[in-house]
């Protein structure tokens, strides 16, 4: 039983981690706390949904659609709003992104309605039997895709020229400016990538989760907790913390109560944060 929970939990954790990676990237590079992160994920879910309903595109195939769509939306949001609040005090950034969240969520409510929707009979459904374990197909594939995307982003940041420039600005913006780095462009890209990550996660989740404009709100605090635990700006931290949280949530849900699943996580977060204020579980 434990093994089953560990496996399920890890898979979900990897998907949560993808959301968190987007958030931690934005946070680490630009020092912006993106409250709208959950709602961007929700939009990713809806991209999949409408692609399925109108064009019959399977959610699996619409992952690139969500990725591109959210990437573009992210860049747009940066250009319109975020770029004006770089360097603003904490509360300004918090409220600006909260404002975005309000607008996105309620536009979705207005245009899509509040009903909960599901995608029926996607390509990925059912479970495989591996040994004594039931492995949910959509979750497993979703987890694999999440890991791939995270690894992709990791190497992009670490190895590519653009990625290294992004690292440079996150460490010392002044210095980067002095050597001629186009900070604005890189910030735009970073925000776009962050949004794309969460969009992809949304597309993955649309395979097996209910979809509604409220979906974003459920996961936003969770992704914040993961980022805080993994260390702001750390991709590997977000990955590990995500898996941990996924397992903890599943364990909690199973042994204590499904209703308290996330509450327990948040309580655990509080404990951790009080003991290790700056570094989360893994340091920087």
């Amino acid at each position: 039983m434990i093994l089953q929970i560990l496996v399920s939990g890890s898979m979900m954790g990897l998907i949560y981690a993808l959301v968190a990676v987007g958030l931690t990237l934005i946070w680490g590079v630009m020092d912006i706390i993106n409250f709208a992160h959950g709602d961007l994920m929700m939009l990713g879910m809806f991209v999949s949904y409408w692609a399925f309903v109108f064009f019959g595109i399977d959610p699996l195939a619409s992952i690139p659609l969500s990725a591109i769509g959210l990437f573009l939306l992210g860049m747009l949001l940066y250009k319109l709003i975020i770029k004006r609040i770089i360097d603003a005090p904490l509360i300004t950034a918090l409220l600006a992104t909260y404002g975005i969240s309000l607008v996105l969520k309620n536009l979705a409510l207005l245009f899509f309605g509040p009903d909960y929707r599901t995608i029926k009979n996607p390509l990925l459904e059912g479970s495989w039997r591996l040994g004594g374990l039931y492995v949910s197909v959509p979750k497993a594939i979703g987890a694999i895709i999440s890991v791939l995307v995270i690894v992709l982003i990791y190497f992009f940041i670490k190895k590519s020229q653009t990625g290294r420039a992004i690292q440079a600005i996150s460490m010392d913006r002044q210095a980067a400016l002095l050597v001629g780095v186009d900070v604005g462009r890189l910030y735009t890209i970073t925000f776009g990538i962050g949004a794309a990550c969460t969009g992809v996660a949304g597309a993955i989740l649309s395979n097996f989760f209910t979809i509604s404009p409220e979906s974003g709100s459920t996961y936003v605090l969770l992704s914040f907790v993961i980022v805080a635990l993994g260390g702001f700006g750390s991709i590997t931290g977000a990955l590990s913390a995500g898996v941990l949280i996924g397992i903890a949530a599943t364990l909690g849900g199973f042994y204590i109560s499904p209703a308290f699943k996330f509450a327990i996580i948040f309580a655990a977060y509080l404990v951790v944060v009080m003991i290790r204020p700056e570094k989360g579980l893994f340091g920087w």
Binding site: L90, I100, L110
Partner: protein, 327 residues
């Protein structure tokens, strides 16, 4: 030269107070009274939040917990122990202080940074909300009803008449504003602003920053709890989402930001704009209205935060400054 000019506010304030005092004599329609009551309530809440968030610089995203605790204290004590709601309110304030200290001690003693504190308060808010949703003793998701009693001030309850509620909440608001005003003129107020300005400098100038952060938090929580108790007695029924949802926390923050964070009147101005807008949109547009008003808030917040971070208060203040150019 950048001189801050003192605006003679006394005449305006007295005028406004008088207007509000006689308002119910001229306006009888229940809905309008309701709008005013909600406006005063959220002005109270926003001003309370502002003590910690605006003056001291510690943003809390979970302030709704104190609101809910105030409401539930009064409801549970009234329903199960027949405790008078005024006593229940005081108890609610004490419970709120209790929770605030549980949050404050680990946060402030360890010097938790602003980001983490904000999220921690949000996390606390969510945990409490989930607990109350599943706690059968207080009604769980079904909510809780205040036992009906003879309408009277002593019983803190009226059935058909909104006017007494109007005066009660207005009195609380005036009380709090006066208190905040005296605080800003006192050592306590200077110290809070110093903490917000630069906490390390404050410490080095002899200020026991930890102590004052605690005090600001408890003061803030107390008034929010009193607001929550009022809300319970006003609505006579509520459930966890009505009092613990993060949206309530936001409704305390947004007016403060809109109107001018860190000022006395800012939260009131902000509430005066947001709450009536909210109520009217909801009334006239129904279900869709609920969505639209949030879109408008969201846009308002974005506009204020991006273009006029000091809020409307500064904007109005600028109108009164006579041509002092900036250097």
């Amino acid at each position: 030269m950048n001189r801050v000019k003192a605006i003679p506010k006394w005449t305006w304030l007295i005028f406004l107070v008088v207007v509000f005092l006689i308002f119910p004599f001229f306006v009888k329609k229940e809905f309008y009274l309701h709008v005013m009551i909600m406006t005063f309530l959220f002005a109270l809440l926003a001003a309370s939040w502002n003590i910690l968030g605006g003056f001291t610089g510690y943003v809390s995203f979970g302030h709704a917990v104190f609101f809910g605790l105030g409401a539930y204290s009064v409801a549970v004590l009234g329903k199960n122990f027949a405790v008078n709601p005024w006593l229940g309110s005081i108890t609610g304030a004490l419970v709120a202080i209790g929770l605030a200290s549980i949050i404050a001690f680990p946060s402030f003693q360890t010097g938790l940074r602003a980001h983490y504190f904000a999220i921690a308060t949000w996390a606390v808010g969510e945990v409490i909300r989930v607990i109350f949703m599943n706690w059968m003793y207080v009604g769980g998701a079904t909510g809780i009803m205040i036992p009906l009693t003879e309408p009277s001030l002593l019983n803190y309850q009226y059935h058909t008449n909104k006017v007494p509620y109007y005066y009660i909440i207005f009195s609380f608001l005036v009380l709090e504003i006066v208190l905040i005003y005296f605080i800003t003129k006192s050592r306590f107020g200077y110290y809070l602003r110093a903490i917000k300005g630069n906490e390390e400098a404050a410490e080095n100038i002899g200020i026991n920053t930890t102590l004052f952060k605690h005090l600001a938090y408890y003061l803030s929580a107390t008034f929010v709890a009193i607001g929550g108790a009022f809300y319970a007695q006003y609505e006579l029924y509520f459930d966890p989402p009505m009092v613990f949802h993060v949206g309530i926390s936001m409704k305390m923050i947004l007016p403060a930001i809109l109107g001018g964070i860190g000022t006395i009147c800012g939260p009131i101005i902000g509430a005066a704009i947001m709450i009536p807008l909210d109520q009217f949109l909801r009334a006239y547009l129904g279900g869709i209205g609920s969505g639209i008003n949030f879109i408008i808030y969201g846009l308002l917040v974005l506009i204020v935060v991006v273009f006029k971070p000091k809020g409307i208060y500064e904007f109005i203040g600028n109108l009164f400054k006579k041509g002092k150019g900036e250097q």
